[in-house]
């Protein structure tokens, strides 16, 4: 399944690419893209792994850029 998030306060393009690399390495992630310009995070992963992945993704984002908030996109 695919899920989209908005990264509020994403201010650094280098961080965006670091996030992308780190999330890509998570177990169960099929595809991920972090778009610095649109501040969008799109992740495709196994459905049953998704809930735990979301917490891991939040952790990665917070670690790389502490001021960024992960908000589910409608």
């Amino acid at each position: 399944m695919k899920k989209r998030f908005i990264l509020e306060g994403l201010g650094c393009a280098n961080c965006a690419s670091k996030m992308e690399t780190a999330i890509n390495k998570l177990n169960g992630v099929k595809e991920v893209s972090v778009n610095f310009m649109t501040q969008k995070l799109t992740v495709e992963a196994d459905e049953d792994r998704m809930p735990s992945l979301i917490t891991e993704i939040e952790k990665i984002v917070k670690k790389i850029e502490p001021d960024t908030r992960v908000v589910p996109s409608k």
């Binding site: 280098n14 893209s33 610095f36 310009m37 649109t38 969008k40 670690k63 790389i64």
Partner: protein, 637 residues
């Protein structure tokens, strides 16, 4: 400017006033002066220091905040209060300006892609309800009022209007709409009220597909983007090590070297080192380019394709649907068998144009009536060329012979219209023609009357496209077609193509493409342009696959790397021009940023420039690079 930025700005201004006060007012007490400096520093750079500490706790040491905190606190420790504060001040102003610039470009890109419909008016038993497009189901009836955006792909069931498709195609001329027409989400209804039946869910609708494509385009990174990611990874640790050595080694090794002096140099060195200018401006350039191109009806699925397009050497075109319209139209009416009549009537003066037109029209009229009941594409094109109403009462005894043609009696005359096989079958003495396209021979009352030529037509801008491509240093323009040799070669000559390969089966096209791929130089790329319908393998095999007329065709959008939303080949030279511009801007930014930084790194290490120039090296360069990348948004025709 948002609220956060405004708050930051107020804080910085307050700090700056305190700094000025400390410098200009004659204060005797040292402690008071120190207190003013410190308050000013906390106002200006307190948040940076806090962020730096927080990031260190989180295990992230070498970031900008850390560098700035270290540099300015370092300056304060060696009693350079005004300089420490001023540097922090400049840094903050620069950062503020930078986020303002990024914010602004984000907005302009968002505006460019503002094709997302906000709501749909769904018709229910008790009237219209306004709901989110995501909640509309296939088969629902929606109403689109003038000025509203089409929320989902649908088919018009009622109403006549004009449709503005410019957001999707870049085409400014509105399209006429009537019941039965398909409407695509993202277009704007100009004047009439339209009622339509939804044919696709929101997720599957054109507007979602396009937005998805453009927003995710950045996942396919260009080489320059990959380069800066790699560059930043090694660059920062190396620079920090060098700065450390710069601070420690000279005081230890050189006699009389001042520790403070070398620390100051190391700090300047650190400030220059931030790779932000590249890291922000390069993705910004590509993203703006993708946004700008989509505004022209050109969807580029990844920034790597800009690179490939900019280096295009060989262009390979499919024929039908790409260079030609793919629609069969009457190209010529030749009443050669009826000419005798003219000669007999006007024995001396010879045939005049008016008279020829008259009998041509008569031939077309009789044939159109004979073919009026047939649904064959050829018959349809003849009827379309005739264009007038058919009077069924004058037609009788229609007989369609599959694979041959039609016989009918029209206005009492026996009409036989069909291919050479039919002429032979009926023993008509026809003259064979070496013509490109499908020839319909016509006999009236057993006498050969002439023929009607039906052929696919070249697109209006096809010739101009090839001309422009040649001017943009494309080395070879090649056409691949399944059509026969005479048709292919004539088109090749008309358009000025360098090579034409004819009578190819779909599999042969891949083989031909492989051969052509070997002809490109090391850096040169091969671009294939097709309609995406039956040439997916070829599209995939080329360095860049461009699909034409992508509007509404999912297959084309899936298979290609670049999708031209309209069916105009003239968008291809435009795409190449955009690609070259984008690559140019990206290269300028890379060379400018790295060049200035290296120069300033050397100058700071030698102690020629101080923290002031270092700030320019960091923030100033970033701002200039970001402003340069704005140019990618503005795409001229």
């Amino acid at each position: 400017m948002n609220d956060n930025m405004r708050k930051d700005l107020m804080r910085i201004i307050a700090g700056a006033i305190l700094l000025l006060a400390a410098l200009l007012i004659d204060i005797d007490q040292d402690w008071l002066k120190l207190a003013l400096f410190l308050t000013s520093y906390i106002l200006v750079g307190g948040d940076i220091v806090l962020k730096a500490i927080r990031n260190i706790i989180r295990g992230k040491v070498f970031d900008e905040n850390f560098l700035m905190a270290l540099a300015t606190i370092g300056a304060m420790i060696i009693s350079e209060y005004p300089e420490g504060i001023a540097v922090m001040l400049l840094y903050q102003i620069g950062e503020l300006f930078q986020s303002y610039a990024v914010d602004k470009s984000r907005k302009s890109i968002a505006d460019l892609m503002d094709i997302r419909p906000d709501y749909a008016n769904v018709k229910k038993d008790d009237g219209l309800i306004r709901i989110s497009p995501e909640d509309v189901k296939v088969g629902d009836t929606i109403v689109i009022k003038p000025g509203e955006r089409v929320p989902l792909d649908a088919r018009v069931i009622e109403g006549v209007s004009m449709l503005d498709t410019s957001a999707l195609t870049g085409e400014s001329l509105p399209r006429e709409l009537e019941p039965g027409d398909e409407i695509l989400s993202g277009c704007i209804n100009v004047n009439g009220v339209i009622t339509a039946k939804v044919t696709k869910e929101y997720e599957e609708s054109t507007v979602s597909k396009i937005l998805d494509l453009v927003e995710n385009a950045s996942s396919k990174k260009s080489r320059s983007e990959q380069f800066i990611t790699r560059f930043a990874r090694y660059y920062t640790p190396v620079v920090v090590m060098l700065a450390l050595l710069l601070a420690l080694l000279p005081p230890l090794l050189i006699k009389g070297a001042n520790f403070n002096e070398w620390t100051y140099r190391a700090l300047s060195f650190l400030v220059v080192s931030c790779p932000c200018a590249l890291v922000i401006s390069i993705p910004l350039t590509f993203f703006s380019g993708i946004g700008g191109a989509s505004k022209k009806g050109i969807l580029v699925k990844g920034s790597n394709y800009f690179e490939a397009l900019a280096n295009a050497e060989i262009m390979v075109f499919d024929k039908t649907g790409t260079l030609t319209k793919g629609v069969f139209e009457v190209q010529e009416i030749n009443p050669k068998g009826m000419m005798g009549r003219i000669y007999n009537e006007e024995d001396k003066e010879g045939p005049n144009v008016e008279r020829i037109n008259e009998i041509s029209e008569e031939l077309l009229e009789l044939t159109a009536h004979a073919e009026s009941l047939s649904t064959h594409p050829i018959s349809r094109s003849i009827l379309k060329a005739y264009g007038k109403d058919i009077d069924q009462s004058i037609v009788s005894d229609t007989n369609e012979i599959a694979g041959h043609g039609i016989e009918a009696v029209v206005r009492g005359k026996k009409i036989i219209a069909g291919n050479t096989k039919l002429m032979k079958l009926r023993g008509i003495d026809y003259t064979a023609e070496e013509l490109i396209g499908t020839v319909v021979h016509v006999a009236i009352d057993g006498q050969y009357a002439g023929y009607i030529l039906i052929a696919d037509e070249l697109k209006k801008d096809a010739a101009e496209t090839i001309k422009k491509l040649k001017a943009t240093s494309i080395k070879q323009n090649v056409m691949l077609t399944g059509d026969n040799q005479s048709v292919g070669e004539k088109i090749g000559r008309t358009l000025g193509l360098d090579k034409v390969f004819t009578e190819l089966l779909p599999a042969d096209k891949v083989d031909k493409l492989e051969d052509l791929l070997t002809l490109t130089s090391d850096k040169g790329k091969l671009v294939y342009v097709g309609d995406g319908i039956n040439d997916a393998p070829v599209l995939a095999r080329a360095d860049v696959g461009i699909a034409m007329g992508g509007l509404g065709s999912d297959a084309a959008i899936e298979a290609a790397d670049v999708v031209i939303m309209t069916d105009e080949p003239s968008k291809i030279p435009v795409a190449i021009k955009i690609a070259r511009k984008i690559i140019g801007i990206a290269n300028q930014n890379i060379i400018f940023a790295i060049g200035v930084k290296i120069a300033l790194l050397i100058l700071s290490a030698l102690g020629i420039t101080g923290l002031w120039m270092a700030i320019f090296g960091d923030v100033g360069v970033t701002i200039i690079a970001v402003i340069n990348s704005f140019r990618a948004l503005k795409i001229k025709d």
